[in-house]
């Protein structure tokens, strides 16, 4: 009987790592093996094929803000699992695992800083935390970031990286789209700059709310941008998707993206757009 016993374990899915700890990293774009220190120096962009590796929120903050400095706000907001949601795992377990992995309580880091001397209220989403999904905490923190812009009359910068609204908080997550967009209506009325930066991926509920509402929208090259997931579209229409579908380049070609910026130019491009739109208060300009 032992002949028939399964001796090999089934396929075990491994956690995909975007930023490796090892010395060498294989590029996802061209499969070239890159020395990690070189990769770091090139801002996690492949020197051969320009593939932009996904980087976490802290690295983005360091890259964009003057001296890499952020005065953090609302760090203690944490999810409460209002639906007592459970699929194959409990939502609370997923939260704890993501908190351990990232050192943050949820999927966005917010605060005040400056970019090339222009003061900004900034929010940077973190894909490492449950796919950057937006539940009550992300929605509330984005809302407060918008309010800090309104209160201080300073530009708003949101760097998105998210698969969309968080299913585990059900309808509450959907309502965060309404909450953030309604506050952006107030911001727009006050004629305050909002620059939306899209990184790989920005889709679904986040794309269908604040990520799409920037005065100026900037994305990294070849990011996945869109409303529905490619697999869902494929299943719905029953045919293969065109090459480059839902990429930054596709998005720009169809008129929904102002600037595609390589990571090394991202700070400069944001800074230019800020300076073109922001007028400092006169009382400070002596």
């Amino acid at each position: 009987m032992d002949w028939f016993r399964k001796t090999k374990a089934g396929l075990v899915s491994q956690q995909k790592k975007e930023i490796p700890d090892g010395l060498w990293t294989k590029c996802k774009g061209c499969s070239e093996v890159i020395y990690s220190r070189i990769l770091e120096e090139s801002l996690w962009v492949c020197p051969s094929c320009n593939y932009h590796f996904r980087i976490n929120a802290n690295k983005i903050i360091k890259l964009l803000l003057d001296d890499g400095q952020l005065e953090r706000y609302d760090e203690n907001l944490s999810s409460l699992d209002p639906l007592k949601f459970r699929d194959s795992k409990k939502y609370t377990d997923r939260i704890v695992a993501s908190q351990k992995k990232t050192g943050d309580l949820d999927a966005v880091i917010c605060g005040l800083g400056s970019i090339d001397t222009v003061p900004v209220s900034i929010a940077v989403m973190n894909f490492d935390f449950m796919g950057g999904s937006m539940g009550s905490v992300v929605g509330e923190k984005i809302a407060r970031a918008i309010e800090r812009s309104i209160d201080r009359e300073i530009p708003l910068v949101i760097v998105s990286c998210s698969g969309g609204a968080r299913m585990q908080e059900g309808i509450l997550s959907l309502m965060q789209m309404a909450k953030t967009s309604a506050l952006l209506a107030v911001l727009a009325k006050k004629k305050i700059t909002y620059i939306s930066v899209l990184t790989n991926p920005t889709t679904a509920g986040v794309m269908a709310s604040y990520a799409s509402l920037g005065d100026i929208i900037i994305a990294e090259p070849k990011a996945l941008l869109g409303f529905a997931g490619p697999r869902v579209i494929q299943q719905t229409i029953g045919q293969d998707l065109p090459e480059g579908f839902q990429s930054s380049e596709f998005f720009q070609e169809h008129g929904f993206l102002d600037v595609i910026s390589e990571r090394k130019d991202l700070r400069k491009n944001i800074s230019l757009c800020l300076h073109y739109t922001y007028t400092p208060p006169k009382s400070l300009g002596n």
Binding site: S136, V137, G139, A165, E169, A178, G226, G255
Partner: protein, 319 residues
């Protein structure tokens, strides 16, 4: 035989109803007195209905929300208003048949109706794209809402969609942008916006016309961040686990009301809206008129302030 499509859990009720009507017919035709038997069967029917509908699972309510005989947007517009003039097209690209817009009168008062529209037979389902709007649908809705704003007419929205359409063209024309823009613009309209989920309220496709001063749900409607099928496919990796996903998502009217996210639950007749569309429409109309009366009192600035505050408060977290 029972006429028309029905759900599994409706069958015992429909069978018994048929039995009663047969008995009534027989008693009249043959002039035989069966009053006590009929009365007893009607009592049994009532009990059966009470039992079945008192314990509906969330998944069963989702099925009621999708019932093939359930009244759709245009049915309600016909039942609660007069002189409907449908307005077509987004002025950019096309006329989306999954979204209907137009002026009508409710009790003589001019209003703008907006809502997704489903079809009932194969041909009309395709014509309406199963109630799944493309960007041009959301843009048509926004154009008509701006017009209502311009002429000071309240906006009455009826939501019934399995989602915004996930297609290549929809992505090319900016499905996400069209929904996002609607959310921001709706926060700025200075006329009352009264919203009711009448059937399915799936995700961004529903919310894209769903930001307003009052939001109601019909008793057997659902409203969720994702459809039960979509959720089960992603989290359970099995679309057949939709009933479990429906339970976990807490997506029926009672759940959403308990979370404090809607202003009320509009009762349906026992068995669902399709069992008595006129009664459902009367209930719906009552809620709409009462809400209009309430928000009519407000100055535009106060209306907008309240609307933004209503959404500002939504969210559950610790700090």
């Amino acid at each position: 035989m029972i006429e028309g499509p029905y759900l599994d859990f409706e069958k015992p009720i429909l069978d018994l109803e048929k039995k009663i009507s047969d008995m009534v017919e027989f008693s009249q035709a043959e002039n035989i007195e069966l009053d006590s038997e009929i009365k007893s069967l009607r009592g049994k029917l009532k009990k059966l209905q009470d039992n079945i509908f008192a314990e509906l699972s969330r998944w069963q309510r989702v099925q009621l929300a999708r019932h093939p005989k359930r009244p759709y947007t245009l049915d309600y517009i016909k039942m609660i208003s007069t002189d409907f003039v449908q307005l077509h097209g987004d002025r950019y690209f096309a006329d989306d048949k999954a979204m209907v817009c137009g002026f009508a009168r409710i009790d003589g008062r001019p209003v703008m109706f907006i809502g997704q529209q489903k079809g009932r037979d194969t041909k009309s389902k395709l014509h309406r794209n199963f109630g799944m709007a493309n960007p041009e649908g959301y843009r048509k809705a926004l154009r008509c809402m701006h017009m209502a704003n311009k002429f000071g007419r309240p906006i009455i929205i009826l939501i019934d969609t399995p989602g915004a359409f996930p297609g290549i063209g929809a992505e090319e024309r900016g499905q996400a942008e069209s929904i996002a823009r609607n959310l921001r613009e709706m926060a700025n309209l200075e006329v009352p916006i009264i919203i009711t989920i009448i059937g399915e309220g799936a995700s961004g496709g529903a919310l894209g016309i769903g930001l307003g001063d009052r939001v109601f749900m019909l008793e057997n409607s659902w409203y969720s961040v994702i459809s039960p099928e979509g959720c089960s496919a992603i989290l359970w990796r099995d679309a057949a686990k939709a009933p479990e996903a429906a339970e976990a998502l807490k997506l029926v009217a009672k759940d959403v009301e308990a979370l404090g996210l809607i202003d009320g639950l509009i009762p349906e007749p026992e068995g669902g809206a399709h069992r008595d569309p006129e009664m459902t429409a009367r209930n719906l109309k009552g809620y709409i008129l009462k809400s209009l009366e309430e928000v009519d009192q407000l100055e535009p600035a106060e209306l907008l302030k309240n609307r933004i505050l209503k959404y500002r408060r939504m969210g559950v977290y610790s700090e």
